[in-house]
């Protein structure tokens, strides 16, 4: 039982750290002076989402949630590339 509580505490601590860093990134998303800054912060949002899913998988002990992070990784890349192409064409 003590072995389980170590991982429980560690995953809860990493969830709290990731949510704090999400709020920190949100400052840049709200304040960012140009459009590429906002795209960068949205990209980091998706990476933080993958981290949150990984920590939540350990927190619940249910490996089904790890499938969602594959989808998030794929969709994020497509979205970032699409926004960058649009930004390049705009001028």
């Amino acid at each position: 039982m003590t072995d389980f509580s170590v991982l429980h505490t560690a995953s809860a601590v990493s969830l709290v750290i990731l949510i704090i860093s999400m709020f920190v990134v949100f400052i840049r998303l709200q304040r960012g002076p140009t459009l590429p800054d906002r795209i960068i912060s949205l990209d980091v949002f998706s990476t933080l989402t993958i981290g949150i899913i990984a920590a939540y998988t350990v927190y619940t002990g249910n490996p089904v949630f790890l499938d969602a992070s594959v989808i998030v990784a794929v969709i994020t890349f497509l979205g970032t590339v699409a926004i960058a192409r649009y930004l390049e064409r705009r001028r």
Binding site: L7, A10, S11, S14, V24, V25, S41, P63, A84, R90
Partner: protein
């Protein structure tokens, strides 16, 4: 017992790396410097956290799946960063005033101006 300690240390250190990336995004003065924080530190934090997940479950299917995510992230993050930085340069995003080398501007005569 040992595997769980390794998994918890990897999880917490990966999330600390992501917090460092978030602080760097807020603190750095320039879009391209912010991309330095977002790409490297956040990818390395994801690597550490997914290694922690695969140490926790220690099953072959979970290890394979987390290594799939790691490989995909490390293949696609540099491409996405390259495209964002090229779009930002073409659009004329202002640089930090202590930037010294801008080879695109020397070659093309256009690009970013110092703010």
């Amino acid at each position: 017992m040992l595997l769980e300690w390794i998994a918890s240390i990897l999880l917490v250190s990966g999330s600390i790396f992501m917090l460092i990336a978030a602080v760097g995004i807020v603190r750095f003065p320039d879009a391209l410097l912010r991309m330095h924080a977002s790409t490297k530190a956040a990818s390395f934090g994801t690597l550490l956290m997914l290694l922690g997940v695969s140490f926790f479950f220690a099953k072959l299917s979970i290890i394979w799946e987390s290594f799939l995510i790691i490989a995909f992230i490390f293949l696609t993050k540099p491409i996405a960063a390259h495209m964002i930085s090229r779009a930002a340069h073409r659009q004329g995003t202002p640089l930090w005033e202590q930037t010294e080398v801008d080879e695109f501007k020397e070659r093309d005569g256009r690009g970013m101006e110092h703010e």
